[in-house]
């Protein structure tokens, strides 16, 4: 009891002293050089120990026609070993292709590399075969590879085949870029013990292995008709070259050294003791890789192959201001490799700035640039369905939005020279009426029709100038006007003459014929037509007409015309018969006008 009291008192004293003993929390004090120590505290790579090599057949005894593996292990890096092209192989043994791998081991607090070379050997005939020792060049140093022997016996029942990996693929006929799953299986070994695998690799050209998505598990599988636990490593493989591809799997057994969390189902035994690092290989798997069809490719193809579905896109808000970002979230699901799904690229848009959110997000940040935007832009996207061998449209449809413009100030204070705010200036009120209106903002100076309008006064002045010139000419040459007037009057008289002839009115015929002849000769004198007499007309007739019947016709016409002034006018019954002669005379006189 007294002991407990003593402890209690000590605790109370400790609490009293705590404020003086405990300082404020400070950043951890790092001694000088500790960061350098962090950098150099990694285990060293052992390069000082002499390089050694081992060689052996696995298993050393096989039945005739069986297979074994010839393994050579060299404790050096693979790249430093100058491996010979040909080995001293007995001609009876059939060696397969060389396979090699490298692992780094931790020994005595130092890293030590281990390179392994493996050949699959077929032994068709019984016998004892030896591969003699040979040397390889390791970083400039000759290293002796010891001899190894293989016994092939015709009759050995119950021998187990050498351990090897099994490689399974989810598809052997794929399209370029189409991800598929590969399973590397290591069945339990002798004694039903399971082992880990390290440095698992798929060897072959034209493949890309996604090791970040590798999954390991221990499951019970059906192996050669027998249920056995096995270590299964599953990974995603993407072909990056078209054609027929061949690849194998390989890995080092590593005892219990599992490099990642592993799920175990069923009952398994783990190997005790130190691990044995043995490079195991699988049989090759052949893959037929086809190129994607060019025909029918839709906009927005980013290389996604599989079968995908898209939920309706989700827009954070559909009412936003100009310049305000909004997130458009997309969610895809389907049967393809979703981890390899590349979201659609941002399309170019006049009214939107579109930013693709960094993966793994499948969303876009949209920023409206103008309030004319009524919907988000459609984002083209499609995938290739390897089953139907067609491209499938998965375009993100436009989403209706209301974009409100950022208002500008409608008034602001005016600051005078003294820095004092004065009256506020503001925008005007609405104009109450349309006001002055024009047909077009384009000025008349640039309109071609206006040039045509300007040509109208030019034409008017030219016309006036021409009229004035004509008028002056006629003033200088009045006979032109008189003759023109005489021609017009003569045409009128000839019409009257024709009417009188038709009516059989001899008196009128004589009057009009005499007047017509007077009109036709008047401009030659010049004189008024009413002042012309028969002699004037005769003087204008040419000589042939004066001596012919024309003279008589003129005389008879004028005589008949003058007869009207007689006290007792006498009818001239044969006067109308002169019409042809009158016509001839008038034609000759008209020709002289």
């Amino acid at each position: 009891m007294g002991r407990l009291k003593h402890i209690r008192n000590g605790f109370i004293h400790f609490l009293w002293l705590t404020p003086f003993l405990v300082n404020a929390q400070m950043s951890p004090h790092i001694p000088p050089g500790s960061q350098l120590q962090l950098q150099v505290a990694q285990p060293m790579v052992d390069v000082s120990t002499p390089v050694t090599a081992t060689a052996a057949f696995d298993p050393p005894l096989v039945p005739a026609g069986g297979k074994a593996f010839y393994r050579v292990n060299v404790d050096a890096t693979e790249s430093s070993i100058d491996w010979p092209e040909a080995l001293p192989v007995p001609p009876e043994l059939k060696f397969g292709a060389k396979q090699s791998g490298q692992i780094t081991l931790m020994q005595a607090n130092q890293y030590r590399p281990l390179a392994s070379f493996v050949y699959e050997v077929a032994a068709p005939l019984a016998g004892h075969y030896t591969i003699t020792n040979f040397s390889v060049n390791v970083a400039g140093v000759r290293v002796e590879v010891p001899a190894a022997s293989l016994d092939v016996d015709a009759k050995i029942p119950g021998l187990q085949a050498p351990r090897r990996l099994e490689l399974e693929v989810s598809a052997t006929n794929v399209f370029l870029g189409q991800p598929f799953h590969a399973r590397v299986i290591l069945p339990v070994g002798p004694g039903n013990e399971i082992e880990a695998l390290r440095e698992i690799e798929l060897r072959g050209d034209g493949l890309m292995v996604d090791k970040t998505a590798m999954r390991q598990a221990i499951e019970t599988i059906n192996h050669n008709g027998e249920l056995k636990p096995a270590l299964i490593c599953e990974m995603t493989v993407t072909p990056i070259a078209a054609g027929r591809l061949e690849f194998t799997a390989q890995g080092f057994t590593a005892g219990r050294e599992f490099s990642a969390p592993i799920s175990i189902s069923g009952q398994v035994n783990f190997q005790g003791g130190p691990p044995k690092y043995v490079l195991l290989v699988s049989d090759p798997v052949e893959l037929n890789v086809r190129s994607l069809p060019v025909e029918g490719e839709l906009p927005g193809f980013t290389g996604s192959i599989g079968k995908f579905f898209q939920d309706p896109p989700h827009l954070a808000t559909n009412r936003l201001q100009v310049g305000e970002p909004v997130q458009l979230s997309l969610s895809f699901h389907g049967e393809g490799e979703l981890t390899r799904l590349v979201p659609p690229a941002a399309p170019a848009s006049r009214d939107w700035q579109i930013i693709v959110d960094p993966p793994p997000a499948t969303s876009f940040t949209l920023i409206p640039l103008a309030d004319e935007a009524r919907q988000t832009p459609a984002i083209p996207f499609c995938y290739f369905d390897p089953v139907t061998e067609k491209y499938v449209d998965l375009t993100v449809p436009p989403q209706p939005v209301t974009v409100v413009g950022q208002g500008l100030p409608v008034e602001q204070p005016v600051v005078d020279d003294g820095g004092k705010a004065g009256a506020r200036v503001k925008l005007s009120a609405l104009a109450p009426a349309p006001g002055k209106t024009v047909r077009s903002l384009k000025p008349l100076q640039l309109q071609t029709w206006f040039v045509g309008v300007q040509l109208a006064p030019v034409a008017g002045i030219l016309a006036l100038w021409q009229w004035d010139r004509r008028r002056r000419y006629l003033a200088a040459h009045p006979e032109i006007l008189r003759r023109a007037q005489a021609r017009r009057a003569l045409r009128r008289e000839k019409q009257q003459l024709q009417k009188a002839l038709t009516a059989g009115d001899a008196s009128a015929f004589a009057q009009h014929a005499a007047r017509a002849m007077s009109i036709a000769v008047a401009p030659h004198f010049p004189a008024d037509a009413r002042a012309m007499v028969c002699a004037d007309v005769l003087s204008q007739l040419d000589v042939s007409a004066q001596n012919g019947a024309g003279t008589d016709t003129v005389r008879q016409v004028f005589a008949a015309a003058d007869a009207q002034f007689a006290i007792h006018p006498r009818p001239s019954p044969g006067l109308l018969a002169l019409s042809a002669g009158v016509e001839s005379v008038l034609q000759k006189l008209e020709e002289k006008l």
């Binding site: 640039l369 100030p409 925008l427 209106t437 002045i461 100038w465």
Partner: protein, 247 residues
């Protein structure tokens, strides 16, 4: 006979009025609708209606109201352009002048730098200058030519008036040249419009121009125009700016 001539003149005038009436009626309808929308605060819709009114027949009042609607919805470049166009039609429009001054203070852009003959051209509407020039030219020529044609007695006032008309014609020529020169002036519509070194989409951006900033279009190539701004010259997309007077 005189009565028939007078009747003909009235018929022609009535026909002209009838031809012009539908456009004016449409403008008035759009104008009234735009006023209602502006008063209701629906500025995007109001701007769209005023745009239709401008298409039916540009008028200073419609453009002033269009500028107000564009300003209220945050389109400073479009607002300044509308008010510049209102002043193009009616240089004496007080609302457009005051709004332009206010807007340029707010968005911190300069007015277009005008040459002296361009400044002269702003004293009257552009079309007035060309009619003035045409009238004065033909008046001067008529006074010199017609007395000789019609044998009018020579009078001193004929020559005085002709000299005056010819002087006004010469003066208006400079103003007309200013009008044509001002048709190169455009305004940036959107903020941060890129001024590029080459007329291509990927051309190097020399600088960016603010909305409402004035530029002069010197030539065009495809969908780009080579413009001269206050501090730089370069190519700009045709959708980034508009001329005050569309050619």
């Amino acid at each position: 006979m005189a009565g028939c001539d007078r009747l003909g003149v009235w018929v022609v005038l009535a026909l002209l009025v009838c031809l012009a009436a539908p456009g004016r009626a449409a403008t008035n309808d759009f104008f009234a609708r735009g006023m209602e929308l502006s008063r209701a605060g629906q500025f995007p819709e109001a701007a769209a209606v005023f745009e239709k009114a401008v298409e039916a027949g540009p008028s200073a009042g419609v453009l002033v109201n269009l500028g107000l609607a564009e300003w209220q919805r945050g389109h400073a470049g479009a607002a300044i352009l509308a008010w510049e166009r209102a002043r193009w039609i009616d240089p004496a429009d007080a609302r457009a002048t005051a709004n332009l001054e206010f807007a340029r203070q707010v968005v911190q852009v300069d007015a277009p730098q005008l040459k002296w003959f361009e400044t002269v051209s702003t004293w009257l509407p552009p079309n007035a200058w060309v009619w003035l020039a045409g009238t004065m030219l033909w008046l001067a020529l008529g006074l010199l030519v017609l007395p000789g044609i019609f044998h009018w007695r020579k009078a001193g006032w004929h020559q005085l008036l002709a000299a005056l008309a010819f002087g006004i014609f010469l003066f208006s020529l400079t103003a007309n040249f200013g009008v044509v020169s001002r048709t190169q002036i455009g305004l940036i519509l959107k903020s941060n419009a890129p001024l590029r070194l080459t007329p291509t989409h990927g051309g190097e951006v020399l600088s960016t121009l603010a909305a409402g900033e004035p530029v002069r279009q010197l030539r065009t190539r495809g969908r780009y125009a080579f413009v001269r701004a206050a501090g730089a010259s370069g190519w700009i997309g045709e959708d980034e700016f508009q001329l005050v007077c569309p050619r």
